[in-house]
């Protein structure tokens, strides 16, 4: 049977090959992203060691900073290393939108539940 999943006119089709020049350009981008990811990790560790964990507003901002930096790291891994950024737009949305929808909802109800349990425990202590 003839395969219908082979794409003819696309640079990521199975039979398409990159030239040496294209490869150089891609590698340059990859090295840049490597440096960026390493820097973000160093900054995260520095923030974790330097700032005191307590109930203050500063620590809340730092916590939020960790999450933002993590999402940035994740975005670079998914979009560049897994080159989802260069895939067709409909594939991007099929992968990212359902996941974002489910996980944001799960985080919302999960944290809401956790806070309620916490409050209930304090009431009935």
């Amino acid at each position: 049977m003839e395969r219908d999943d082979l794409i003819v006119n696309d640079s990521y089709a199975v039979n398409a090959t990159h030239t040496e020049e294209e490869g150089k350009k891609i590698r340059k981008k990859l090295y840049m992203v490597t440096v960026l990811l390493t820097l973000i990790t160093v900054v995260e560790v520095f923030m974790g060691v330097a700032f005191k964990r307590n109930e203050t507003f500063t620590w809340e901002v730092i916590k939020l900073g960790f999450i933002v930096l993590t999402v940035v790291k994740a975005a670079y891994i998914v979009l560049v290393f897994m080159h989802l950024g260069e895939e067709r737009r409909n594939l991007k949305y099929v992968i990212l939108l359902p996941y974002a929808l489910f996980i944001l909802y799960l985080i919302f109800i999960g944290l809401r539940e956790g806070i309620s349990v916490h409050d209930a425990q304090n009431i009935f202590k």
């Binding site: 060691v49 895939e87 999960g110």
Partner: protein, 349 residues
């Protein structure tokens, strides 16, 4: 730029005869699998968040629990996990370089970079083994109190503070005393094995054997610590007082020691008790989430080795394309991706 799909008219794209996503069946299924696997990990980390938010006791902080480096004494908060993260990021980079070499049909490049990726994977697995071993053995150990007690403790700034401790509160030993005590407890276990000591005992006679054993293993039941630590892994404040790592010494330490709940001593963590937190979920989540991730890394290394051998034997060269490297690359990057989140939510936040 390379990789950008050329525009195709909608009729042509969705009219059948070709993949509307412009990727092959295998790659698409790998993406779908990764989405479902990501939901599993997302669920686990969210569950961790629910338990942590719901807990009314303070939760241990990463920089206090994970502060050791192999072969070194002293405190290096988060350095080891940062190193593990770096190793995994670097092995992710070598993997993407293997994928890139595959696009140029460069067999030598694929074999080289995929080989480095496998080595990185082994390094990460080894690091995780050490991390687990350290977590399980702990540093110093602790015990729980049998009844409520009030003691005077010393803060880091030298001031004294009265602490009212409830039943079940954790008290920690200093690592030197803790290790000696653990050794002494194990020593008792060995004494029970009559056969074990007999080889030594023959020359000294029965009485001599007893003394011999005592010289090497202090009797655990007579050991009393000079200092004990409160709030070792949790950061607690009361007004202006920083109640983290309080030191109890002298008579009060003896009082705490005498108030030890029977069989509550634990060194590190196991599946029913852990020295880091009152909440056993802390250790359970650590074991499950990092263990599940480690299992993914392990299976990734196995798959990488298989594909590496295939590349070495020229299977993909004969096939005409290196798409398999892309597929396993997706999986390997996913493993890195999960670790980025585990790193944030287990160790940093």
């Amino acid at each position: 730029m390379a990789g950008h799909a050329k525009p195709i008219s909608k009729e042509e794209l969705w009219g059948g005869g070709q993949s509307p996503f412009s990727i092959t069946y295998g790659k698409m299924m790998m993406w779908y699998f990764l989405v479902s696997d990501a939901l599993t990990f997302g669920g686990l980390l969210t569950a961790y968040g629910v338990i942590r938010h719901g807990s009314s006791e303070p939760w241990p902080v990463g920089e206090q629990v994970f502060e050791a480096l192999p072969g070194l004494t002293g405190s290096y908060p988060l350095m080891y996990v940062a190193l593990m993260t770096f190793i995994l990021i670097i092995s992710s980079v070598t993997m993407v370089l293997a994928v890139e070499a595959g696009h140029r049909n460069d067999k030598k490049g694929v074999v080289k970079w995929l080989g480095y990726t496998i080595i990185g994977g082994f390094f990460f697995l080894g690091s995780q083994a050490w991390e687990w071993s350290h977590f399980i053995h702990g540093s110093g150990g602790g015990f729980q109190l049998e009844s409520p007690i009030t003691v005077t403790a010393e803060m880091k700034n030298g001031e004294k503070v009265q602490m009212n401790l409830a039943t079940g509160s954790w008290v920690h030993m200093e690592s030197e005393f803790g290790h000696a005590y653990e050794h002494a407890m194990e020593g008792h276990g060995e004494e029970a094995h009559a056969g074990h000591g007999d080889a030594h005992g023959d020359a000294h006679g029965a009485a001599g054997h007893g003394e011999h054993a005592d010289a090497h293993h202090a009797d655990a039941s007579t050991m009393v610590p000079e200092r004990l630590i409160l709030n070792k892994y949790v950061l607690v404040r009361e007004g202006d007082n920083d109640l983290h790592k309080l030191v109890v010494s002298g008579e009060d330490a003896k009082k705490l020691w005498a108030n030890m709940s029977p069989n509550s001593v634990v060194f590190g963590a196991n599946l029913s008790k852990n020295e880091y937190a009152v909440q056993q979920q802390y250790a359970d989540f650590f074991f499950f989430v990092t263990g599940f991730h480690g299992f993914h890394v392990f299976s990734g290394v196995v798959i990488n080795i298989i594909v590496w051998l295939m590349a070495l034997r020229g299977v993909f060269e004969r096939r005409g394309h290196y798409e398999m490297i892309e597929k396993i690359g997706l999986y390997w990057h996913f493993v890195d991706l999960v670790w980025v989140f585990v790193f944030t939510f287990f160790y940093l936040v």
